[in-house]
Protein backbone atom coordinates (compact mmCIF):
# COMPACT_ATOMS: atom_id res chain seq x y z
CA UNK A 1 0.00 0.00 0.00
CA UNK A 2 1.43 3.37 -1.05
CA UNK A 3 0.41 6.03 1.44
CA UNK A 4 -0.06 9.53 0.10
CA UNK A 5 2.10 12.39 1.20
CA UNK A 6 -0.91 14.02 2.81
CA UNK A 7 -1.74 10.91 4.82
CA UNK A 8 1.82 10.48 6.05
CA UNK A 9 2.13 14.14 6.99
CA UNK A 10 -1.21 14.06 8.72
CA UNK A 11 -0.17 11.02 10.77
CA UNK A 12 3.12 12.72 11.57
CA UNK A 13 1.28 15.76 12.88
CA UNK A 14 -0.93 13.57 15.05
CA UNK A 15 2.04 11.74 16.53
CA UNK A 16 3.89 14.95 17.27
CA UNK A 17 0.78 16.45 18.86
CA UNK A 18 0.39 13.39 21.10
CA UNK A 19 4.07 13.43 22.09
CA UNK A 20 3.99 17.13 22.82
CA UNK A 21 0.80 16.82 24.85
CA UNK A 22 2.21 13.96 26.88
CA UNK A 23 5.58 15.55 27.61
CA UNK A 24 3.78 18.68 28.72
CA UNK A 25 1.54 16.64 31.04
CA UNK A 26 4.67 14.97 32.47
CA UNK A 27 6.15 18.38 33.16
CA UNK A 28 2.94 19.67 34.74
CA UNK A 29 2.59 16.56 36.86
CA UNK A 30 6.17 16.82 38.09
CA UNK A 31 5.49 20.45 38.97
CA UNK A 32 2.48 19.39 41.03
CA UNK A 33 0.06 21.27 38.81
CA UNK A 34 -2.30 18.40 37.99
CA UNK A 35 -4.06 16.22 40.57
CA UNK A 36 -4.45 12.43 40.59
CA UNK A 37 -2.21 10.26 38.54
CA UNK A 38 -1.44 10.06 34.86
CA UNK A 39 -0.32 7.25 32.57
CA UNK A 40 1.48 8.55 29.51
CA UNK A 41 1.53 7.24 25.96
CA UNK A 42 5.01 8.46 25.03
CA UNK A 43 6.57 5.97 22.62
CA UNK A 44 3.30 4.35 21.60
CA UNK A 45 2.00 7.15 19.37
CA UNK A 46 2.18 5.14 16.15
CA UNK A 47 -0.47 2.70 17.35
CA UNK A 48 -3.35 5.09 18.00
CA UNK A 49 -2.34 7.20 15.03
CA UNK A 50 -2.09 4.36 12.52
CA UNK A 51 -5.39 2.82 13.61
CA UNK A 52 -7.43 6.02 13.89
CA UNK A 53 -6.19 7.26 10.51
CA UNK A 54 -8.55 4.60 9.11
CA UNK A 55 -11.57 5.79 11.06
CA UNK A 56 -14.18 8.48 10.48
CA UNK A 57 -15.83 10.73 13.05
CA UNK A 58 -18.75 8.31 12.99
CA UNK A 59 -16.69 5.32 14.07
CA UNK A 60 -16.19 4.39 17.70
CA UNK A 61 -13.19 3.71 19.87
CA UNK A 62 -12.75 2.43 23.39
CA UNK A 63 -9.61 3.46 25.18
CA UNK A 64 -7.57 2.57 28.25
CA UNK A 65 -6.08 4.17 31.34
CA UNK A 66 -3.31 5.30 28.96
CA UNK A 67 -5.80 7.10 26.79
CA UNK A 68 -4.60 10.57 25.83
CA UNK A 69 -3.05 9.37 22.57
CA UNK A 70 -6.18 7.53 21.47
CA UNK A 71 -8.32 10.57 22.11
CA UNK A 72 -6.07 12.92 20.19
CA UNK A 73 -5.77 10.47 17.30
CA UNK A 74 -9.56 10.12 17.14
CA UNK A 75 -10.00 13.88 16.97
CA UNK A 76 -10.45 14.86 20.60
CA UNK A 77 -9.69 18.48 21.41
CA UNK A 78 -6.46 18.96 23.33
CA UNK A 79 -7.69 22.00 25.22
CA UNK A 80 -10.74 20.15 26.57
CA UNK A 81 -8.51 17.21 27.45
CA UNK A 82 -6.01 19.40 29.23
CA UNK A 83 -8.77 21.16 31.15
CA UNK A 84 -10.09 17.79 32.25
CA UNK A 85 -6.65 16.68 33.42
CA UNK A 86 -6.48 19.88 35.44
CA UNK A 87 -9.92 19.09 36.91
CA UNK A 88 -11.55 22.20 35.50
CA UNK A 89 -15.22 22.81 34.81
CA UNK A 90 -14.45 23.33 31.12
CA UNK A 91 -12.90 19.89 30.72
CA UNK A 92 -14.40 17.11 28.66
CA UNK A 93 -16.02 15.66 31.77
CA UNK A 94 -16.50 18.86 33.77
CA UNK A 95 -13.74 17.72 36.11
CA UNK A 96 -15.52 14.52 37.10
CA UNK A 97 -13.46 12.06 35.11
CA UNK A 98 -9.87 13.20 34.94
CA UNK A 99 -7.10 11.66 32.90
CA UNK A 100 -8.39 8.10 33.05
CA UNK A 101 -11.97 8.75 32.02
CA UNK A 102 -11.91 11.31 29.23
CA UNK A 103 -14.66 10.73 26.69
CA UNK A 104 -16.29 12.44 23.74
CA UNK A 105 -19.30 10.29 22.95
CA UNK A 106 -20.32 12.60 20.11
CA UNK A 107 -17.00 11.81 18.41
CA UNK A 108 -17.43 8.11 19.05
CA UNK A 109 -14.93 8.10 21.90
CA UNK A 110 -16.60 5.84 24.46
CA UNK A 111 -14.13 6.72 27.14
CA UNK A 112 -10.73 6.09 28.52
CA UNK A 113 -11.14 3.50 31.24
CA UNK A 114 -9.53 2.95 34.60
CA UNK A 115 -10.21 -0.78 34.61
CA UNK A 116 -7.82 -2.94 32.62
CA UNK A 117 -9.73 -4.86 29.97
CA UNK A 118 -13.08 -3.19 30.63
CA UNK A 119 -13.25 -1.61 27.18
CA UNK A 120 -13.28 -4.95 25.41
CA UNK A 121 -16.92 -5.91 26.05
CA UNK A 122 -18.00 -2.28 25.69
CA UNK A 123 -16.44 -2.18 22.22
CA UNK A 124 -18.18 -5.42 21.40
CA UNK A 125 -21.53 -3.92 22.39
CA UNK A 126 -20.86 -0.81 20.32
CA UNK A 127 -20.07 -3.18 17.46
CA UNK A 128 -23.40 -4.90 18.03
CA UNK A 129 -25.13 -1.51 17.78
CA UNK A 130 -23.23 -0.67 14.56
CA UNK A 131 -24.21 -3.95 12.96
CA UNK A 132 -27.83 -3.78 14.14
CA UNK A 133 -28.27 -0.21 12.89
CA UNK A 134 -26.55 -1.04 9.58
CA UNK A 135 -24.58 2.20 9.77
CA UNK A 136 -21.36 0.78 8.29
CA UNK A 137 -19.57 2.14 11.35
CA UNK A 138 -16.77 0.21 12.99
CA UNK A 139 -15.25 0.12 16.47
CA UNK A 140 -11.55 0.15 17.34
CA UNK A 141 -10.86 -1.33 20.77
CA UNK A 142 -7.51 -0.40 22.27
CA UNK A 143 -6.11 -2.40 25.17
CA UNK A 144 -2.76 -3.43 26.56
CA UNK A 145 -0.91 -6.72 26.75
CA UNK A 146 -2.04 -7.12 30.36
CA UNK A 147 -5.69 -6.82 29.34
CA UNK A 148 -5.34 -9.72 26.93
CA UNK A 149 -5.09 -11.97 29.98
CA UNK A 150 -8.41 -10.86 31.39
CA UNK A 151 -11.64 -12.80 30.96
CA UNK A 152 -13.12 -9.79 29.23
CA UNK A 153 -10.71 -10.39 26.33
CA UNK A 154 -11.89 -13.95 25.82
CA UNK A 155 -15.57 -13.18 26.24
CA UNK A 156 -15.53 -10.10 24.04
CA UNK A 157 -13.60 -11.64 21.17
CA UNK A 158 -15.66 -14.80 21.28
CA UNK A 159 -18.92 -12.85 21.18
CA UNK A 160 -17.76 -10.53 18.40
CA UNK A 161 -16.50 -13.48 16.42
CA UNK A 162 -19.71 -15.52 16.54
CA UNK A 163 -21.82 -12.48 15.67
CA UNK A 164 -19.35 -11.13 13.06
CA UNK A 165 -19.26 -7.71 14.68
CA UNK A 166 -17.30 -4.84 13.09
CA UNK A 167 -14.67 -4.50 15.80
CA UNK A 168 -10.91 -4.13 15.45
CA UNK A 169 -9.22 -5.30 18.64
CA UNK A 170 -5.89 -3.53 18.96
CA UNK A 171 -3.47 -5.01 21.48
CA UNK A 172 -0.86 -2.43 22.36
CA UNK A 173 1.89 -4.70 23.54
CA UNK A 174 4.34 -2.46 25.36
CA UNK A 175 5.82 -5.59 26.99
CA UNK A 176 4.86 -4.72 30.54
CA UNK A 177 1.71 -5.26 32.55
CA UNK A 178 2.61 -2.48 34.98
CA UNK A 179 5.97 -3.97 36.09
CA UNK A 180 5.45 -7.55 35.01
CA UNK A 181 7.35 -8.48 31.86
CA UNK A 182 5.42 -10.26 29.15
CA UNK A 183 7.26 -13.58 29.53
CA UNK A 184 6.10 -13.67 33.15
CA UNK A 185 2.44 -13.06 32.44
CA UNK A 186 1.74 -15.03 29.29
CA UNK A 187 3.18 -18.11 27.69
CA UNK A 188 2.83 -17.01 24.08
CA UNK A 189 5.23 -14.71 22.25
CA UNK A 190 2.50 -13.12 20.17
CA UNK A 191 -0.84 -11.99 21.53
CA UNK A 192 -1.96 -12.17 17.90
CA UNK A 193 -1.80 -15.97 18.17
CA UNK A 194 -4.76 -15.81 20.52
CA UNK A 195 -6.98 -14.83 17.59
CA UNK A 196 -6.88 -18.46 16.45
CA UNK A 197 -8.93 -19.39 19.51
CA UNK A 198 -11.79 -17.27 18.20
CA UNK A 199 -11.46 -18.12 14.52
CA UNK A 200 -10.60 -14.57 13.50
CA UNK A 201 -7.54 -13.08 11.79
CA UNK A 202 -4.68 -12.15 14.08
CA UNK A 203 -1.62 -10.27 13.01
CA UNK A 204 1.41 -8.95 14.89
CA UNK A 205 2.99 -5.79 13.54
CA UNK A 206 5.77 -3.40 14.43
CA UNK A 207 3.81 -0.98 16.53
CA UNK A 208 6.49 1.66 16.25
CA UNK A 209 6.06 1.81 12.49
CA UNK A 210 2.98 3.89 11.85
CA UNK A 211 2.76 2.68 8.26
CA UNK A 212 2.71 -0.96 9.35
CA UNK A 213 -0.02 -0.19 11.89
CA UNK A 214 -1.98 1.81 9.33
CA UNK A 215 -1.86 -1.00 6.79
CA UNK A 216 -2.88 -3.72 9.22
CA UNK A 217 -5.72 -1.56 10.50
CA UNK A 218 -6.83 -0.69 6.97
CA UNK A 219 -7.27 -4.36 6.21
CA UNK A 220 -9.11 -5.02 9.46
CA UNK A 221 -11.36 -1.99 9.04
CA UNK A 222 -12.21 -3.00 5.46
CA UNK A 223 -13.04 -6.48 6.65
CA UNK A 224 -15.24 -5.09 9.42
CA UNK A 225 -17.07 -2.70 7.08
CA UNK A 226 -17.75 -5.55 4.66
CA UNK A 227 -19.48 -7.48 7.41
CA UNK A 228 -16.77 -10.12 7.70
CA UNK A 229 -16.31 -9.61 11.42
CA UNK A 230 -13.60 -8.72 13.89
CA UNK A 231 -9.82 -8.90 13.74
CA UNK A 232 -7.04 -8.79 16.29
CA UNK A 233 -4.00 -6.63 15.62
CA UNK A 234 -1.07 -6.81 17.99
CA UNK A 235 1.19 -3.77 17.86
CA UNK A 236 4.55 -4.35 19.47
CA UNK A 237 5.67 -1.14 21.06
CA UNK A 238 7.34 0.34 24.11
CA UNK A 239 6.39 2.88 26.68
CA UNK A 240 9.28 5.19 27.22
CA UNK A 241 8.18 6.10 30.71
CA UNK A 242 7.02 4.24 33.79
CA UNK A 243 3.56 2.77 34.17
CA UNK A 244 2.45 6.05 35.73
CA UNK A 245 4.22 9.34 36.23
CA UNK A 246 6.42 8.98 39.27
CA UNK A 247 7.08 5.29 38.63
CA UNK A 248 10.89 5.03 38.38
CA UNK A 249 10.48 1.87 36.25
CA UNK A 250 13.33 0.04 37.95
CA UNK A 251 11.95 -3.17 36.47
CA UNK A 252 13.05 -2.16 32.99
CA UNK A 253 16.34 -3.40 31.57
CA UNK A 254 18.34 -0.26 30.64
CA UNK A 255 19.84 -1.87 27.54
CA UNK A 256 16.44 -2.88 26.31
CA UNK A 257 15.12 0.59 26.99
CA UNK A 258 18.01 2.09 25.00
CA UNK A 259 17.40 -0.29 22.10
CA UNK A 260 13.73 0.61 22.00
CA UNK A 261 14.40 4.32 22.19
CA UNK A 262 16.32 3.89 18.94
CA UNK A 263 13.10 2.58 17.42
CA UNK A 264 11.12 5.63 18.52
CA UNK A 265 8.25 5.94 16.04
CA UNK A 266 8.55 9.68 15.54
CA UNK A 267 12.17 9.93 14.30
CA UNK A 268 11.46 6.86 12.17
CA UNK A 269 8.64 8.61 10.38
CA UNK A 270 10.67 11.78 10.11
CA UNK A 271 13.42 9.85 8.34
CA UNK A 272 10.88 8.39 5.96
CA UNK A 273 9.31 11.76 5.20
CA UNK A 274 12.73 13.30 4.51
CA UNK A 275 13.82 10.31 2.46
CA UNK A 276 10.69 10.46 0.30
CA UNK A 277 11.15 14.23 0.07
CA UNK A 278 7.61 14.65 1.40
CA UNK A 279 8.98 17.19 3.87
CA UNK A 280 12.05 19.23 4.62
CA UNK A 281 13.53 19.56 8.08
CA UNK A 282 12.00 23.03 8.15
CA UNK A 283 8.57 21.51 7.48
CA UNK A 284 9.04 19.07 10.35
CA UNK A 285 10.19 21.85 12.65
CA UNK A 286 7.10 23.76 11.66
CA UNK A 287 4.87 20.83 12.67
CA UNK A 288 6.59 20.70 16.05
CA UNK A 289 6.26 24.45 16.48
CA UNK A 290 2.54 24.27 15.75
CA UNK A 291 2.08 21.39 18.17
CA UNK A 292 3.99 23.25 20.87
CA UNK A 293 1.84 26.33 20.35
CA UNK A 294 -1.35 24.26 20.41
CA UNK A 295 -0.42 22.56 23.67
CA UNK A 296 0.71 25.80 25.28
CA UNK A 297 -2.66 27.22 24.30
CA UNK A 298 -4.37 24.16 25.85
CA UNK A 299 -2.49 24.67 29.11
CA UNK A 300 -3.41 28.35 29.15
CA UNK A 301 -7.03 27.43 28.54
CA UNK A 302 -6.95 24.88 31.35
CA UNK A 303 -5.17 27.11 33.82
CA UNK A 304 -7.48 30.03 33.18
CA UNK A 305 -10.62 27.87 33.32
CA UNK A 306 -12.89 27.88 36.35
CA UNK A 307 -12.75 25.08 38.85
CA UNK A 308 -16.04 23.17 39.18
CA UNK A 309 -18.65 24.41 41.59
CA UNK A 310 -18.85 22.19 44.67
CA UNK A 311 -22.60 21.88 44.00
CA UNK A 312 -21.76 19.93 40.86
CA UNK A 313 -20.79 16.93 42.96
CA UNK A 314 -24.47 16.01 42.90
CA UNK A 315 -25.21 16.42 39.19
CA UNK A 316 -24.89 13.92 36.31
CA UNK A 317 -25.50 10.81 38.43
CA UNK A 318 -28.72 9.98 36.58
CA UNK A 319 -30.13 11.09 33.25
CA UNK A 320 -33.55 12.71 33.54
Amino acid sequence: MELTKEKLLSMYRTMVRIRTFELKVAELFAAGKVPGFVHLYVGEEAVATGVCANLTDQDYITSTHRGHGHLIAKGGQTKLMMAEIFGRATGYCKGKGGSMHIADVGLGILGANGIVGAGQPIATGAGLACKYKKTNRVVACFFGDGASNRGTFHEALNMASIWKLPVIYVAENNMYGISNYQRNHMNVADIADRAAAYGIPGVAVDGNDVVAVYEAAAEAVARARKGDGPSLIECKTWRHRGHFEGDPAIYKNPEEQAAWLKKDPIPRLEAKLLDLKYATQADLDQVQAEATAEIEEAVKFAESSPIPSADDVLTDVYAD
Binding site: D316, V317, A319
Partner: protein, 323 residues
Protein backbone atom coordinates in the same frame (compact mmCIF):
# COMPACT_ATOMS: atom_id res chain seq x y z
CA UNK B 1 -57.48 -5.85 31.91
CA UNK B 2 -56.16 -9.28 31.16
CA UNK B 3 -55.34 -12.12 33.48
CA UNK B 4 -51.64 -12.88 33.24
CA UNK B 5 -48.88 -14.44 35.23
CA UNK B 6 -45.99 -12.33 36.47
CA UNK B 7 -43.77 -13.99 33.82
CA UNK B 8 -46.27 -13.18 31.08
CA UNK B 9 -46.54 -9.64 32.36
CA UNK B 10 -42.77 -9.13 32.19
CA UNK B 11 -42.82 -10.51 28.65
CA UNK B 12 -45.76 -8.27 27.73
CA UNK B 13 -43.88 -5.22 28.99
CA UNK B 14 -40.88 -6.14 26.86
CA UNK B 15 -43.09 -6.91 23.86
CA UNK B 16 -44.92 -3.57 24.04
CA UNK B 17 -41.63 -1.66 24.10
CA UNK B 18 -40.03 -3.80 21.40
CA UNK B 19 -43.01 -3.12 19.16
CA UNK B 20 -42.85 0.59 19.86
CA UNK B 21 -39.09 1.12 19.64
CA UNK B 22 -36.88 -0.77 17.17
CA UNK B 23 -33.81 0.11 19.24
CA UNK B 24 -34.93 -2.23 22.02
CA UNK B 25 -33.18 -5.58 21.75
CA UNK B 26 -33.09 -8.50 24.12
CA UNK B 27 -30.23 -10.84 24.72
CA UNK B 28 -28.84 -13.32 27.15
CA UNK B 29 -28.29 -16.99 27.76
CA UNK B 30 -31.04 -19.15 26.23
CA UNK B 31 -33.49 -16.27 25.82
CA UNK B 32 -34.28 -17.17 22.21
CA UNK B 33 -35.05 -20.74 21.17
CA UNK B 34 -35.30 -21.98 24.73
CA UNK B 35 -37.49 -19.06 25.76
CA UNK B 36 -35.43 -18.24 28.83
CA UNK B 37 -34.45 -20.45 31.74
CA UNK B 38 -37.85 -19.73 33.35
CA UNK B 39 -39.82 -19.24 30.14
CA UNK B 40 -40.10 -15.48 30.54
CA UNK B 41 -38.97 -14.72 26.97
CA UNK B 42 -40.88 -17.53 25.26
CA UNK B 43 -42.16 -16.56 21.82
CA UNK B 44 -40.22 -13.31 21.52
CA UNK B 45 -37.68 -14.82 19.11
CA UNK B 46 -40.51 -15.92 16.84
CA UNK B 47 -42.13 -12.50 17.06
CA UNK B 48 -39.07 -10.25 16.71
CA UNK B 49 -36.49 -12.43 14.97
CA UNK B 50 -32.91 -13.34 15.75
CA UNK B 51 -31.54 -9.84 15.22
CA UNK B 52 -33.50 -8.57 18.21
CA UNK B 53 -33.74 -11.63 20.43
CA UNK B 54 -30.26 -13.02 20.63
CA UNK B 55 -28.94 -16.14 22.29
CA UNK B 56 -25.53 -15.41 23.76
CA UNK B 57 -22.74 -17.69 24.87
CA UNK B 58 -22.53 -18.36 28.61
CA UNK B 59 -20.61 -15.20 29.17
CA UNK B 60 -22.11 -12.83 31.72
CA UNK B 61 -19.19 -10.41 31.59
CA UNK B 62 -19.66 -9.85 27.88
CA UNK B 63 -23.46 -9.85 28.12
CA UNK B 64 -23.54 -6.96 30.56
CA UNK B 65 -20.37 -5.29 29.26
CA UNK B 66 -21.62 -5.35 25.71
CA UNK B 67 -25.00 -4.02 26.85
CA UNK B 68 -23.12 -1.01 28.21
CA UNK B 69 -21.42 -0.48 24.84
CA UNK B 70 -24.61 -1.07 22.88
CA UNK B 71 -26.46 1.45 25.04
CA UNK B 72 -23.67 4.00 24.68
CA UNK B 73 -23.87 3.52 20.90
CA UNK B 74 -27.61 4.10 20.63
CA UNK B 75 -29.52 0.90 21.38
CA UNK B 76 -31.75 0.16 24.37
CA UNK B 77 -30.63 -3.34 25.30
CA UNK B 78 -32.37 -5.62 27.76
CA UNK B 79 -29.75 -8.07 28.99
CA UNK B 80 -30.81 -11.15 30.89
CA UNK B 81 -28.54 -12.64 33.54
CA UNK B 82 -30.03 -16.02 34.30
CA UNK B 83 -29.76 -15.80 38.11
CA UNK B 84 -28.92 -12.77 40.23
CA UNK B 85 -26.28 -14.97 41.83
CA UNK B 86 -24.34 -14.82 38.57
CA UNK B 87 -24.03 -11.05 38.77
CA UNK B 88 -20.72 -11.51 40.51
CA UNK B 89 -19.29 -12.46 37.14
CA UNK B 90 -20.24 -9.10 35.67
CA UNK B 91 -19.79 -6.81 38.67
CA UNK B 92 -17.11 -4.67 37.04
CA UNK B 93 -19.44 -4.05 34.13
CA UNK B 94 -22.14 -2.89 36.54
CA UNK B 95 -20.24 -1.10 39.26
CA UNK B 96 -17.38 0.48 37.35
CA UNK B 97 -18.83 0.85 33.87
CA UNK B 98 -22.63 1.08 33.65
CA UNK B 99 -23.08 2.93 36.91
CA UNK B 100 -20.30 5.46 36.46
CA UNK B 101 -19.96 6.32 32.81
CA UNK B 102 -22.47 9.12 32.82
CA UNK B 103 -20.99 10.79 35.88
CA UNK B 104 -17.37 10.28 34.88
CA UNK B 105 -18.10 11.70 31.44
CA UNK B 106 -19.61 14.83 32.94
CA UNK B 107 -23.17 13.89 32.01
CA UNK B 108 -22.38 13.38 28.34
CA UNK B 109 -23.48 9.76 28.05
CA UNK B 110 -26.84 8.07 28.29
CA UNK B 111 -26.95 4.41 29.13
CA UNK B 112 -30.48 3.17 28.62
CA UNK B 113 -30.04 -0.46 29.52
CA UNK B 114 -31.97 -2.95 31.59
CA UNK B 115 -30.40 -5.95 33.24
CA UNK B 116 -33.14 -8.46 34.04
CA UNK B 117 -32.37 -11.11 36.56
CA UNK B 118 -34.33 -13.51 38.77
CA UNK B 119 -33.69 -13.68 42.49
CA UNK B 120 -34.96 -15.62 45.42
CA UNK B 121 -35.09 -18.85 47.35
CA UNK B 122 -37.78 -21.49 47.75
CA UNK B 123 -36.69 -23.97 45.09
CA UNK B 124 -34.05 -25.92 47.01
CA UNK B 125 -31.53 -24.49 44.62
CA UNK B 126 -29.03 -23.79 47.43
CA UNK B 127 -26.67 -20.93 47.93
CA UNK B 128 -25.56 -20.16 44.37
CA UNK B 129 -29.00 -20.00 42.77
CA UNK B 130 -31.27 -18.52 45.43
CA UNK B 131 -29.96 -15.23 46.72
CA UNK B 132 -31.54 -11.81 47.11
CA UNK B 133 -28.68 -9.47 46.33
CA UNK B 134 -30.50 -6.19 45.76
CA UNK B 135 -28.52 -4.43 48.49
CA UNK B 136 -25.34 -4.83 46.44
CA UNK B 137 -26.80 -2.80 43.60
CA UNK B 138 -28.45 -0.18 45.80
CA UNK B 139 -25.02 0.70 47.15
CA UNK B 140 -23.80 1.82 43.73
CA UNK B 141 -24.90 5.34 42.70
CA UNK B 142 -25.81 5.43 39.02
CA UNK B 143 -27.85 2.24 39.01
CA UNK B 144 -31.61 2.06 39.53
CA UNK B 145 -33.03 -1.01 41.23
CA UNK B 146 -36.52 -2.32 40.58
CA UNK B 147 -38.24 -5.30 42.29
CA UNK B 148 -41.86 -5.91 41.28
CA UNK B 149 -44.11 -7.94 43.56
CA UNK B 150 -47.13 -8.64 41.32
CA UNK B 151 -47.98 -9.04 37.63
CA UNK B 152 -49.32 -5.53 37.01
CA UNK B 153 -46.24 -3.94 38.53
CA UNK B 154 -44.03 -6.40 36.70
CA UNK B 155 -45.31 -5.11 33.39
CA UNK B 156 -45.54 -1.46 34.29
CA UNK B 157 -42.11 -1.32 35.86
CA UNK B 158 -40.57 -3.18 32.91
CA UNK B 159 -41.97 -0.58 30.52
CA UNK B 160 -40.65 2.20 32.74
CA UNK B 161 -37.26 0.51 33.05
CA UNK B 162 -36.87 0.19 29.28
CA UNK B 163 -37.90 3.81 28.70
CA UNK B 164 -35.50 5.05 31.38
CA UNK B 165 -32.20 6.51 30.14
CA UNK B 166 -30.23 4.96 33.01
CA UNK B 167 -28.96 1.47 33.79
CA UNK B 168 -31.77 -0.33 35.60
CA UNK B 169 -31.38 -3.61 37.46
CA UNK B 170 -34.77 -5.29 37.18
CA UNK B 171 -34.98 -8.12 39.69
CA UNK B 172 -37.82 -10.59 39.23
CA UNK B 173 -38.63 -13.24 41.82
CA UNK B 174 -38.70 -16.90 40.82
CA UNK B 175 -41.53 -17.65 43.26
CA UNK B 176 -43.71 -15.02 41.63
CA UNK B 177 -43.28 -16.06 37.99
CA UNK B 178 -46.38 -18.23 37.95
CA UNK B 179 -48.53 -15.97 40.11
CA UNK B 180 -51.51 -14.59 38.18
CA UNK B 181 -53.20 -11.24 38.38
CA UNK B 182 -54.98 -8.50 36.49
CA UNK B 183 -52.68 -6.62 34.13
CA UNK B 184 -53.63 -3.62 31.96
CA UNK B 185 -53.26 -4.30 28.25
CA UNK B 186 -51.18 -2.31 25.78
CA UNK B 187 -49.06 0.64 26.89
CA UNK B 188 -48.98 0.59 30.69
CA UNK B 189 -46.32 2.16 32.80
CA UNK B 190 -45.66 2.20 36.52
CA UNK B 191 -43.31 5.12 37.21
CA UNK B 192 -40.02 4.25 38.82
CA UNK B 193 -39.52 5.58 42.31
CA UNK B 194 -43.17 5.36 43.32
CA UNK B 195 -44.18 3.16 46.23
CA UNK B 196 -47.62 1.59 46.48
CA UNK B 197 -49.73 0.81 49.51
CA UNK B 198 -50.72 -2.79 48.86
CA UNK B 199 -53.00 -2.87 51.92
CA UNK B 200 -54.29 0.09 53.88
CA UNK B 201 -53.92 -0.05 57.64
CA UNK B 202 -53.61 2.16 60.68
CA UNK B 203 -51.69 0.31 63.40
CA UNK B 204 -48.34 -0.65 61.92
CA UNK B 205 -46.52 -0.16 58.64
CA UNK B 206 -44.96 -3.24 57.10
CA UNK B 207 -42.53 -2.36 54.31
CA UNK B 208 -41.79 -5.34 52.08
CA UNK B 209 -40.82 -5.93 48.46
CA UNK B 210 -40.76 -8.65 45.86
CA UNK B 211 -41.96 -12.05 47.13
CA UNK B 212 -42.12 -10.76 50.69
CA UNK B 213 -45.09 -8.52 49.85
CA UNK B 214 -47.28 -11.61 49.66
CA UNK B 215 -45.89 -12.81 53.00
CA UNK B 216 -46.58 -9.40 54.54
CA UNK B 217 -50.13 -9.40 53.16
CA UNK B 218 -50.74 -12.89 54.59
CA UNK B 219 -49.36 -11.74 57.93
CA UNK B 220 -51.65 -8.70 57.83
CA UNK B 221 -54.67 -10.97 57.46
CA UNK B 222 -53.61 -12.99 60.49
CA UNK B 223 -53.00 -9.78 62.46
CA UNK B 224 -56.37 -8.38 61.44
CA UNK B 225 -58.06 -11.32 63.14
CA UNK B 226 -56.22 -10.33 66.29
CA UNK B 227 -57.28 -6.70 66.03
CA UNK B 228 -54.07 -5.26 64.56
CA UNK B 229 -54.63 -3.39 61.32
CA UNK B 230 -51.38 -3.48 59.33
CA UNK B 231 -50.55 -1.29 56.36
CA UNK B 232 -48.37 -3.01 53.75
CA UNK B 233 -46.21 -0.74 51.68
CA UNK B 234 -44.22 -1.93 48.66
CA UNK B 235 -41.52 0.52 47.54
CA UNK B 236 -41.34 -1.33 44.17
CA UNK B 237 -38.24 0.67 43.25
CA UNK B 238 -35.45 0.58 45.83
CA UNK B 239 -33.36 3.18 43.99
CA UNK B 240 -34.50 5.90 43.74
CA UNK B 241 -36.53 5.15 46.87
CA UNK B 242 -39.90 6.74 47.55
CA UNK B 243 -38.99 7.58 51.12
CA UNK B 244 -41.77 10.14 51.45
CA UNK B 245 -44.34 7.36 51.08
CA UNK B 246 -42.63 5.35 53.80
CA UNK B 247 -42.42 8.34 56.17
CA UNK B 248 -46.03 9.20 55.45
CA UNK B 249 -47.20 5.70 56.28
CA UNK B 250 -45.10 5.56 59.46
CA UNK B 251 -46.55 8.95 60.35
CA UNK B 252 -49.96 7.38 60.16
CA UNK B 253 -49.23 4.15 62.03
CA UNK B 254 -46.34 5.07 64.36
CA UNK B 255 -44.75 1.63 63.96
CA UNK B 256 -42.49 0.09 61.35
CA UNK B 257 -41.59 -3.49 60.50
CA UNK B 258 -39.37 -4.09 57.49
CA UNK B 259 -39.42 -7.46 55.78
CA UNK B 260 -36.89 -8.67 53.23
CA UNK B 261 -35.71 -12.00 51.99
CA UNK B 262 -32.07 -10.94 51.85
CA UNK B 263 -29.73 -11.56 54.75
CA UNK B 264 -29.91 -9.15 57.64
CA UNK B 265 -26.55 -7.37 57.84
CA UNK B 266 -26.46 -4.36 55.55
CA UNK B 267 -29.66 -5.49 53.92
CA UNK B 268 -31.72 -2.73 52.32
CA UNK B 269 -33.97 -2.87 55.38
CA UNK B 270 -31.14 -1.32 57.37
CA UNK B 271 -31.19 1.65 55.01
CA UNK B 272 -34.94 2.11 55.39
CA UNK B 273 -34.62 1.84 59.16
CA UNK B 274 -31.86 4.44 59.10
CA UNK B 275 -33.90 6.83 56.96
CA UNK B 276 -36.89 6.57 59.29
CA UNK B 277 -34.70 6.93 62.40
CA UNK B 278 -32.99 9.92 60.85
CA UNK B 279 -35.90 11.74 59.27
CA UNK B 280 -38.91 10.32 61.09
CA UNK B 281 -37.77 9.59 64.62
CA UNK B 282 -40.62 11.62 66.07
CA UNK B 283 -43.12 9.57 64.10
CA UNK B 284 -42.16 6.36 65.87
CA UNK B 285 -43.97 4.99 68.90
CA UNK B 286 -41.86 1.84 69.07
CA UNK B 287 -38.51 0.50 67.90
CA UNK B 288 -38.14 -0.44 64.23
CA UNK B 289 -38.15 -4.19 63.63
CA UNK B 290 -36.62 -6.12 60.76
CA UNK B 291 -37.70 -9.57 59.61
CA UNK B 292 -34.99 -10.97 57.37
CA UNK B 293 -33.06 -14.07 56.53
CA UNK B 294 -30.19 -14.88 58.88
CA UNK B 295 -26.60 -14.09 57.91
CA UNK B 296 -25.91 -17.46 56.36
CA UNK B 297 -25.66 -18.81 52.84
CA UNK B 298 -28.91 -20.37 51.65
CA UNK B 299 -29.27 -24.05 52.59
CA UNK B 300 -30.42 -26.81 50.26
CA UNK B 301 -32.61 -29.17 52.32
CA UNK B 302 -36.24 -28.02 52.21
CA UNK B 303 -36.58 -27.94 55.98
CA UNK B 304 -33.46 -25.81 56.29
CA UNK B 305 -34.45 -23.48 53.48
CA UNK B 306 -37.86 -23.04 55.03
CA UNK B 307 -36.26 -22.20 58.37
CA UNK B 308 -34.05 -19.70 56.59
CA UNK B 309 -36.83 -17.76 54.86
CA UNK B 310 -38.91 -15.03 56.43
CA UNK B 311 -42.58 -16.01 56.54
CA UNK B 312 -45.93 -14.77 57.83
CA UNK B 313 -45.42 -16.30 61.29
CA UNK B 314 -42.11 -14.48 61.74
CA UNK B 315 -43.71 -11.24 60.56
CA UNK B 316 -46.68 -11.64 62.90
CA UNK B 317 -44.33 -12.29 65.80
CA UNK B 318 -42.26 -9.19 65.03
CA UNK B 319 -45.35 -7.02 64.75
CA UNK B 320 -46.77 -8.29 68.03
CA UNK B 321 -43.56 -7.40 69.82
CA UNK B 322 -44.43 -3.78 69.15
CA UNK B 323 -47.78 -3.91 70.94
Amino acid sequence: MAQMTYAEAIRDGMRVEMQRDPNVILYGEDVGLFGGCFGVTAGLLQEFGPERVIDTPITETAIVGSAVGAAAAGLRPIAEVMFVDFMGVCMDELLNQAAKMRYMFGGKARLPLVVRTPCGAGMSAAAQHSQSLEALFTHIPGLKVVMPSDPADAKGLMVAAIKDDNPVIYIEHKQLLNVSGEVPEGEYLVPLSQAEIKREGSDVTIVAWSWMVSKALAAAEILAKEGINAEVLDPRTLVPLDKEAILKSVGKTGKLVIVHEAVRTNGFGAEIAAIVADEGFDLLDAPIKRVTAPDTPIPFAPVLESAYLPNEEKIVKAVKELF
